[in-house]
C-alpha cells in the first residue's frame, strides 16, 4: 500500500481520514433524515438515521464518547426539526446505554446484533421523547419566530383567543399534543421506527464498523 511506502505520513493520515469519514457520515445521516426515500417508511414513520449513527459509534466506545456523540447529533436533530423538547436527551441516553452494553463482551459483533440494538434503542428514543412531550413545553420557538418577524401573530391562536375570550374564556388552550394523543401515537411510532430503523441500520453501521475495525488493527483507535 501507498501508506507503507511513505512512513512519514503514515501516522497522521488515517486519523485525519477518520475524522473526514466521521463528519461526512454524520452529514449523510442528517441529510438522509430530511429525505423520505421510497422503502424507508412504514406507516408514515421514517428511519431515525441519526440514532443509528449514535448506536454504530457507541457500540465500540466508552460512556463519555457515546454521550458526546449523542450530544452533538442531538443538537443536529434539533436543528433539523424543532428544539423543544430537545432530542439531545434521548440521543445521549442512547449513546450511554449502547456503550454500557459492553457489546464486545456479551454479544457477537455482526450487523444482526447492531440491528437488534437499534431496534431496542428506537423504542427507547421514542419513549424518552414521548415523556418529554408529556412533561415539557412543546416548541415555544414558534412564538419566538413570530416575535422576531414582528408583524405577524404566527399561528392563529392569538387573534382567536382575544375574540373568543368575550363569549367563552374556557376554551383557550395551549396548542400541541395532548397526553392521550402522545401515548396513542407513541405505540405506533415506536414500533414502526424500531422495525424500519433496524432494517436500515446495517447501511450505516456496517461500513463504519468495517472502517473502524481496520483502523483499530492498523493503529491505536483515535477518539
Amino acid at each position: 500500500m501507498i501508506l507503507r511506502r511513505l512512513p512519514r505520513f503514515r501516522a497522521p493520515d488515517p486519523a485525519f481520514l477518520n475524522w473526514v469519514i466521521v463528519v461526512l457520515s454524520v452529514l449523510a445521516c442528517a441529510l438522509l433524515s430530511l429525505a423520505r426515500l421510497p422503502g424507508t417508511q412504514l406507516a408514515d414513520v421514517g428511519v431515525n438515521w441519526l440514532m443509528i449513527w449514535v448506536v454504530s459509534w457507541s457500540v465500540r466506545r466508552s460512556l463519555l464518547q457515546g454521550a458526546i456523540a449523542g450530544l452533538i447529533l442531538g443538537l443536529l436533530q434539533d436543528a433539523l426539526t424543532a428544539s423543544q423538547p430537545s432530542h439531545v436527551v434521548s440521543l445521549v441516553i442512547v449513546g450511554l446505554v449502547t456503550a454500557l452494553l459492553q457489546k464486545q463482551r456479551y454479544i457477537q459483533e455482526d450487523f444482526i446484533s447492531v440491528a437488534l440494538i437499534v431496534f431496542a434503542m428506537a423504542v427507547l428514543t421514542e419513549t424518552v421523547f414521548a415523556l418529554q412531550l408529556t412533561f415539557m413545553v412543546q416548541d415555544s420557538d414558534l412564538a419566538t419566530v413570530a416575535a422576531a418577524t414582528g408583524d405577524f401573530s404566527l399561528g392563529d391562536s392569538l387573534l382567536d383567543a382575544e375574540s373568543g375570550a368575550q363569549t367563552d374564556p374556557g376554551w383557550v388552550q395551549q396548542a400541541g399534543y395532548t397526553p392521550v394523543e402522545i401515548w396513542s401515537r407513541h405505540q405506533r411510532v415506536a414500533l414502526s421506527s424500531a422495525i424500519v430503523s433496524s432494517l436500515w441500520a446495517p447501511l450505516i453501521a456496517y461500513p463504519l464498523n468495517l472502517w473502524w475495525e481496520w483502523l483499530d488493527r492498523s493503529q491505536e483507535l483515535p477518539r
Binding site: L34, H87, D156
Partner: protein
C-alpha cells in the same frame, strides 16, 4: 493532573468543542445551513421541475369545481360591492416538497423555494384540496412549512353553512380537531370547514376539510373531527401565497369582525 490531561487530550478536547459549537450554531439557526446543503445536493435528483398539470379525478370533482367557480364569482361580486379587495390570488408561487421533518412527531415539510423567490415567514400554503399549512422559516432557497396537521398548528376556521367560528388543531393524522367558540351548535357531519374570517394567516373562505363527527358533550366547548381535504402525507407540490401581513394595530379591527360574524354575513 489537569495539566497532564490537557497535554494528552488537548487536540481531542478542542475537536469535540468545535463540533459541539458547530452543532449548537446549526441548532440556533434552525438548521438553515443544512437545509441549503440538502437543497443543493438533491437539486440534480429532482427530475420534474415543473408543477403537475391540474388533475381531475372524477366527474364529482368536476361538478364541484364548476359549482365552486360559480360561487367564487358570486363572492367576488359581493366583495366588490362591499368594498373588500381579494388579494390572496395574486403572486402565488408553486413549490416542490423536497424534505420532511427529521423526527416522527413533528409535521413539517421543506419546500424548494425560499427568500429568493419572495417567500416570507407567515405565508399561507395550499395544495389541491385546500389549506395545508404556513411558512415558519425561510432560507435563501428553501422554506419550512408547518403543516396544518401538526399539533402545534392552530388555524382559525368556520363552518360554511352556519358561519360558526372556531379553530382547528392538528393531531398528526389526516384528521383535525375543531373546537368552537360557542356552546350550542347545529353542527352535523358533512359540514364544510373553511378558514375563518378572523384568521391572521389565511384569506377567509379557503377550504380545509369536512366534519366527520361531533362531540357535543365535550367540555368546555364542543369538539369536532375534521377530515382534511388535501392528501397531507402524499403532497408533492404546494402553492405558497403572499403573507397576509396583519399588523398588530389591525388586530383590534379584526377582532371586532370576529365577534360579530353573523351580523357581517347578514348584512
Amino acid at each position: 493532573m489537569l495539566y497532564h490531561w490537557w497535554n494528552q487530550y488537548w487536540s481531542k478536547a478542542l475537536l469535540v468543542a468545535a463540533f459541539v459549537s458547530l452543532a449548537w450554531f446549526l441548532r440556533q439557526t434552525n438548521g438553515a445551513l443544512l437545509q441549503e446543503v440538502f437543497y443543493g445536493i438533491t437539486q440534480p435528483l429532482r427530475l420534474n421541475t415543473a408543477p403537475p398539470a391540474e388533475q381531475l379525478s372524477d366527474a364529482r370533482t368536476l361538478e364541484l369545481q364548476e359549482r365552486l367557480l360559480e360561487l367564487q364569482a358570486q363572492n367576488q361580486q359581493l366583495q366588490t360591492t362591499l368594498g373588500e379587495v381579494n388579494e390572496a390570488e395574486a403572486g402565488s408561487i408553486p413549490a416542490p416538497i423536497i424534505g420532511r421533518a427529521a423526527n416522527q412527531w413533528w409535521q413539517h415539510v421543506i419546500i424548494g423555494r425560499g427568500k429568493g423567490d419572495g417567500i416570507k415567514v407567515g405565508s399561507p400554503v395550499q395544495a389541491a384540496g385546500g389549506v395545508v399549512g404556513y411558512v415558519i422559516q425561510v432560507t435563501t432557497h428553501t422554506s419550512k412549512v408547518l403543516l396544518i396537521s401538526d399539533p402545534r398548528s392552530s388555524v382559525g376556521a368556520m363552518l360554511t353553512r352556519t358561519r360558526t367560528q372556531g379553530y382547528v388543531r392538528g393531531t398528526a393524522t389526516d384528521q383535525l380537531e375543531m373546537r368552537f367558540f360557542e356552546k350550542d351548535l347545529t353542527v352535523t357531519p358533512g359540514d364544510v370547514v373553511v378558514t375563518s374570517s378572523s384568521s391572521t394567516l389565511f384569506a377567509p373562505g379557503q377550504p380545509i376539510g369536512i366534519i366527520q363527527s361531533v362531540d357535543q358533550q365535550a367540555s368546555p366547548v364542543p369538539v369536532a373531527r375534521v377530515k382534511l381535504n388535501a392528501p397531507i402525507s402524499k403532497l408533492e407540490w404546494v402553492t405558497v401565497y403572499p403573507a397576509k401581513a396583519v399588523k398588530i394595530e389591525n388586530q383590534a379591527e379584526a377582532v371586532e369582525d370576529a365577534t360579530a360574524p353573523s351580523a357581517l354575513v347578514g348584512s
